[in-house]
Amino acid sequence: MSTSTLHAASKGEPNAIRACIDAWSALVWTLARRASPTREDAEDAVQEIFLDLWKSASRYDPSVASESAFVATIARRRLIDRARARKRRPAAEPVSEPRLPPSGAASADMCVEASRAAAALDSLRPEQRDVLLLSTVHGLTHEEIAEARGMPLGTVKAHARRGLIRVRAMLVGADGASGEVER
């Protein structure tokens, strides 16, 4: 999909909107299902995310991120807002088993950001990786992670932040420029 499609969708052009929905509904739905307590809540979230996408699409810059990463960022922001509004954490996999999917799964090939994030996570110390995945993928608060792992809250926060900073550094690159984009 070209940059102009996202920009065209932001202007309300029907064909571009249809193309965006076709391209991203599965990704957004999968993210929403993982972060929502019920199927109905996930459906509401998806609709809100696409409204956010139409409003934000004009700001998409391919030199900053791939389209997948852009859409996932929009989705993540809305899902976090919804979780905070619910004042409880979304349903998640068992706390004791945070992990990336087996190699060969589709996700790491989705975009360059995903593959770089996977590589960055592999390079983290195990406790940093554990905390970061519990926070991002499983949606646990720092307090919940501290309680689940028997770790001081300050340590949890430090692990999460250092891990995220490391992932960000891998995406941004040493010269501060963004990495390659998907298309």
């Binding site: 309300g12 993982r34 459906e43 960022t73 993540r76 807002d81 589709a106 995220l164 995406l171």
Partner: protein
Amino acid sequence: MSANERQDRLEELLCDRALEGLDDAATRELASLGGDADWSYDLAAAAIDLASLGPLEEPPADLRAKLLARALPEPKVVKLPTPRSRAWVGWAFAAAFALLALAAWLRRPSVLDPARDRAALIARGGDVKVVPWKATADPAGASASGDVVWSADGQRGYMRFHGLPKNDPQKTQYQLWIFDAERDDRYPVDGGVFDIDAQTGDVIVPITPKVRAHKAVLFAITIEPPGGVVVSKREHIVLTASL
């Protein structure tokens, strides 16, 4: 706060926003530190989401329909009060139609070069309006685009289409409807039937309304049986253009 402390606090807030979100106070603090436009940490968190997803799950079919419906609302049809009396309307239409038919014939555009006539009408300016077609949810209009040129004073115009599917006149024809703000919207003005017989390039079709559209507000294209219909069931509204 020293520069290092400021940078540390900025980074802390950006990480917190990316991982858990911020409350109002923290959001204001982030803005005061000039970091609210930096979404690189949020992008990093989203990248972790993507790296951990696994196979994608297809959304429910009705959810896609809801997304389309919210993004592409149905064309707005003007609601008008019912005329008080229709007793004299028929005669008035007959007389007006006769006069209009004569006038239209006298100033008829060339049927040999509608593109040139269309350009000339646009160049004339004045009350001439050009509005783009918008596709509806109907699949026939999915790849279609173009515009409508309309002169209310001249009661004439041109439709331009690109990508509208070719039709078999033995089975269906396209029909133009002109919604008039001064008429009951249940009975828009019949703009005539036409065919698309070219698969590439632009197709230009003159507009020849059966009766005067005093205040056209909406043009709509439907798919109808050969020869068109008097009243459309509006089951296949392909394109609309709002003035």
